[in-house]
Symmetry: C2
C-alpha cells in the first residue's frame, strides 16, 4: 500500500479536519455524507455553539489552517454569572490573555469543507452509507436502505459520523465490542438573543454568560453578527422541566420567575421555544475503536460526550492530531500498529473527558452560584499564580493545555480533596488571603510529590 485510498464517513468538523491532515500526506481522500452540502443549506439551529480552546487550535495549527479559521471565533475570557436577584459577577477562565473562542458549528464546518476541498479532498454529499464491510474496507451507498446499493472499495475507512455512527454500529454487532449509550435526564433547547438596534451585542461579548439555577441553567455565547446563541439546559421531566413548559403562558411565567433580566433582550423567546426542538444529551463509549488495519473511529463516533466542558470538538480534533503523530512515528505502511497505538493512547483520555464533562454540569448550573465555591476558585487561582509549577487549575489543564485529559481528571481529584480540607477551615472566608492558607496548600502538595 503506497498511498492509501481513504474513505471518511461524515463531513462534520472532525471528518473535514482528518481529510485535510490525510491530504497533506498525499493520500486520496473521499468524504461521504448522507446530508446535503452544509454550504448550500440553511442551518438547522439545533447545534450548541462551540468553544474552541487550546487543543482545537493546536490541531488546526498543525494542519496549517489556524489562520484561516481564527477570525471566525470570538474570544471569551470569563464566565459572566447572572445570579437571580443578586449582583452579577465574573470569573476569568484562565490567566491574562487566555480565552476560549465562541464559534458557530455551521460557520466553522463550511470553512473547513472549503479548506479541505482546496486541499484536494473529494466530497460526496447526499451519498448515504448503509453498510460497511469491515474486513474489506468497502462502503455501500444508495438512495434507500432497501434499494439498490453501490459498492465502494477503499484501503482504509474512517468513521467520523458522530454519536450515532453507522460505521460504529456495524462494529457493534461483532462479538467482544463494548458499547454504551447513556442519556442524561437533562435535555436542551436552543434560543437566541438578537443584536441590538445598532447591530451590536446587547450584553458583554467577551464572556460566556451563565444563568445558574441549580437543576437547570441558561447559557449564552456570542456570534459574529451581534447575536448570542442561548441554550437552556433543563430536565426533561420533573418540577422545572421541559415537560411542564408546553404553553407560551407557562414559558413566560417560568422565564419571568427565573430569568427576568433576559426578557427584554429575548424578543423571540416564545416563538423560539415552541419552534425549536428539545434535544437529548448522550454520552457514548465503545472499545475497540479500530478494526484490523482497515477501519477506525475518530471523534464523536468513538466517544460522544455531553457539552458542559466545551470539549467535544476539541477532543475530536485532538484525536486527529494524535493519530497524525502516530502515523509519523510508525511510518504510514503499518496501519495495524498505528490503529492499535491510536486507540490505546486515546481511549483513557476520551473516558476522562467524558467524566469531566458530565461532572461540569453541576459546576456550571449550581456551584457557580455558591459563595463558598466562588471563594474556593479564588484561593486556587491565587495559589496557582504564586506557585504555577505546583498547581495548574483543573479547568486550565483541560482547556488551556495539551496535557492528557486522563491526568487532568486524576490530578483534579487530588486538588479537590486538598481544597475541601482548606474550605473546611473555620472562618476560611476571613483568612483565605493569608500566607498560612497558601503554606498549608503548599505543604500538602509537596508532601504528595514526595510520596509519588
Amino acid at each position: 500500500m503506497k498511498q492509501p485510498n481513504i474513505a471518511i464517513v461524515g463531513s462534520g468538523l472532525v471528518g473535514s479536519l482528518l481529510a485535510i491532515y490525510l491530504r497533506k500526506r498525499k493520500y486520496t481522500v473521499t468524504v461521504f455524507d448522507r446530508r446535503p452540502d452544509i454550504r448550500k443549506i440553511q442551518f438547522s439551529g439545533r447545534s450548541i455553539n462551540l468553544a474552541m480552546s487550546v487543543r482545537g487550535w493546536n490541531a488546526l495549527e498543525k494542519a496549517g489552517i489556524r489562520n484561516a479559521v481564527e477570525n471566525l471565533g470570538i474570544p471569551m475570557d470569563k464566565r459572566f454569572i447572572h445570579v437571580n436577584n443578586k449582583k452579577d459577577y465574573t470569573q476569568n477562565y484562565g490567566k491574562d490573555g487566555e480565552a476560549i473562542y465562541s464559534i458557530s458549528r455551521g460557520v466553522l464546518n463550511r470553512k473547513m469543507i472549503d479548506l479541505a476541498e482546496q486541499a484536494g479532498v473529494i466530497f460526496k454529499f447526499e451519498e448515504k452509507v448503509w453498510d460497511v464491510n469491515l474486513s474489506e474496507a468497502k462502503l455501500y451507498t444508495g438512495e434507500t436502505e432497501k434499494g439498490a446499493w453501490k459498492e465502494h472499495k477503499f484501503d482504509i475507512i474512517f468513521g467520523c459520523d458522530g454519536a450515532f455512527s453507522r460505521v460504529r454500529h456495524k462494529m457493534q454487532r461483532r462479538s467482544r465490542f463494548d458499547y454504551s449509550q447513556d442519556f442524561l435526564d437533562t435535555g436542551y433547547k436552543e434560543l437566541s438573543i438578537p443584536p441590538g438596534k445598532d447591530g451590536k451585542h446587547v450584553i458583554d461579548a467577551t464572556s460566556l454568560h451563565i444563568w445558574p439555577r441549580g437543576k437547570f441553567m441558561l447559557i449564552a455565547l456570542p456570534n459574529l453578527d451581534g447575536s448570542f446563541t442561548c441554550t437552556l439546559f433543563m430536565p426533561h421531566e420533573g418540577e422545572n422541566s421541559f415537560s411542564k413548559l408546553t404553553s407560551s403562558k407557562s414559558v413566560f411565567e417560568f422565564w419571568k420567575k427565573y430569568f427576568p433580566d433576559t426578557l427584554s433582550i429575548m424578543p423571540t423567546l416564545l416563538d423560539d421555544f415552541s419552534n425549536n426542538p428539545t434535544s437529548a444529551l448522550v454520552t457514548t463509549k465503545c472499545f475497540p475503536w479500530t478494526y484490523w488495519d482497515k477501519v477506525a473511529l475518530v471523534g464523536d463516533s468513538a466517544h460522544a460526550i455531553v457539552p458542559f466542558y466545551g470539549q467535544g470538538m476539541n477532543a475530536g480534533f485532538e484525536d486527529v492530531f494524535i493519530l497524525d503523530q502516530i502515523i509519523e512515528k510508525f511510518g504510514d505502511q503499518n496501519w495495524q500498529t498505528i490503529f492499535e497505538e491510536y486507540q490505546i493512547s486515546r481511549k483513557p483520555n476520551a473516558d476522562a473527558i467524558a467524566e469531566l464533562s458530565y461532572r461540569n454540569f453541576m459546576e456550571m448550573s449550581s456551584k457557580t452560584a455558591v459563595p463558598l465555591f466562588i471563594l474556593q476558585k479564588k484561593i486556587e487561582k491565587k495559589f496557582s499564580l504564586a506557585y504555577p509549577n505546583l498547581w495548574i487549575p483543573l479547568y486550565s489543564r483541560v482547556t488551556f493545555s495539551n496535557k492528557p485529559y486522563a491526568d487532568a481528571l486524576q490530578i483534579g481529584d487530588i486538588q479537590e480533596t486538598i481544597m475541601q480540607d482548606i474550605m473546611s477551615i473555620p472562618d476560611i472566608e476571613s483568612k483565605w488571603d493569608s500566607d498560612i492558607i497558601m503554606n498549608k496548600i503548599k505543604t500538602r502538595i509537596e508532601k504528595l510529590q514526595t510520596v509519588n
Copy 2:
C-alpha cells in the same frame, strides 16, 4: 382491546414460557423465530447447561407445567471441588433437600415448545423478523434483509429474542434509550465427559463439579444420558488463554498440567477442543424495557448476564412470573400501566443479578480453592442454621428464594462486611466453632437491625 393479539419474537425458553402464560389468558399468541424448529434439528452444542433453581420452578409451577418439566432435571445439591494435587471436597449449596437442577437448554426448549403448542400457541419458525414498527406494533419478516418483507400487525409485541435482540435494537436507535454491552475478557468452550461403559455417570452425578484454577476453571454438569456437559472458562488472551491453546499438543500439555484427573474421562477432549467454538460472554443492560403499551422486552433481550450464578434463565422466567402478577393486578386492559410497573419493578433486580453473576466468577474460579473462604462459608452456614431468621446466606437468597435480587445484593454486601471482620480475628481457624464467634455475628446483625 378485548383479547389482545400478541406476537412474541423468539421461541427460546423465555419466549415459550411467556407464550404459555399469555395463552392461559386466552390471548392469541404467535411466536416468530428466525431459526428452524429446535425439535427438528441437532443441537449446536454451544449452550451452557442450565441450572434451574427456585425462581425458575416457581414460574413453571404457576404456568402449570412444573410436573411436565421436572423429570428433565438432575438435582445437584453441592459443589464438588477438584483442587489440583490436593484432596477433593464438597460444599452443599443449601440446606438438606435444597438443590439446583442440571438441565439441557435444548431438551428443555423442545419440551416448552411442545407444551406451548398444546396450549394453542402458533409458532412460525424460520420467519426472520427484520424490522419492527414500535408505535404500531408491526413486525416485518422476509427471506433476506434487503428482499421483500411481509407486514404483520399485532396489538402487542414481546421481544424475547435474546442478548442481541432485534426488537431492542430497534428501540435502541431512539433517543433517550440507555444501552450497554460489556464483554468479559473471559470466554468459554463446551466440552464433554461421556458416560461410562455401563452407560452411567463416571463421576458423582449429584454435584456441580468445579476445577478452580484462579483465572480459569472447568465445570461439569450431569446430563440424563450419563454424560456431563463441561465448560472451560478462560481468558481470550494472556498467559493461560484460548489464544495460546491452538494446537492439540498445547491443549494436551495444558490439560495434563491443570486438569490431570480428567484426562482419562475426557476421551474426546482434543477433538472437542478444536471442533467447538470459543464463545464470548456479555452483560447487556438497557432502559426503558417497554415502548408505550405496544412493545416489551423480557429475559435476555432486556438483561443478558454472565452465567456464573446460574441465574440467566431463572431471571428471565421470573420476569414472566412478575409480569403476569402485574397483569393480574391492573387487569389486562391497561397495558401502558402494566408495562411501566413491570420495567420499574424488574430493572433494579436485573441490575443486581448482573452484578452478582459478574462477581461470582471470582468466587467459583478462585475462592472455592482458598481454605479461609471455605471456612468462612462454614461459619456462615453454622450461624444461619442456628439463627435462620437472622441470616439467609447470599447464595440461598439468590437460588433458593423468591426474594428480590436487589435485596440479595444489598444484604449480601452487609453480610460480607461482617464476615470479613470475623475472618480477621486472630486464630479464627481454631476458634470458629465457639459460641463467642456466633455471638459476635449475632450482635452485629442485631445492632444493624436496630439502626435500620
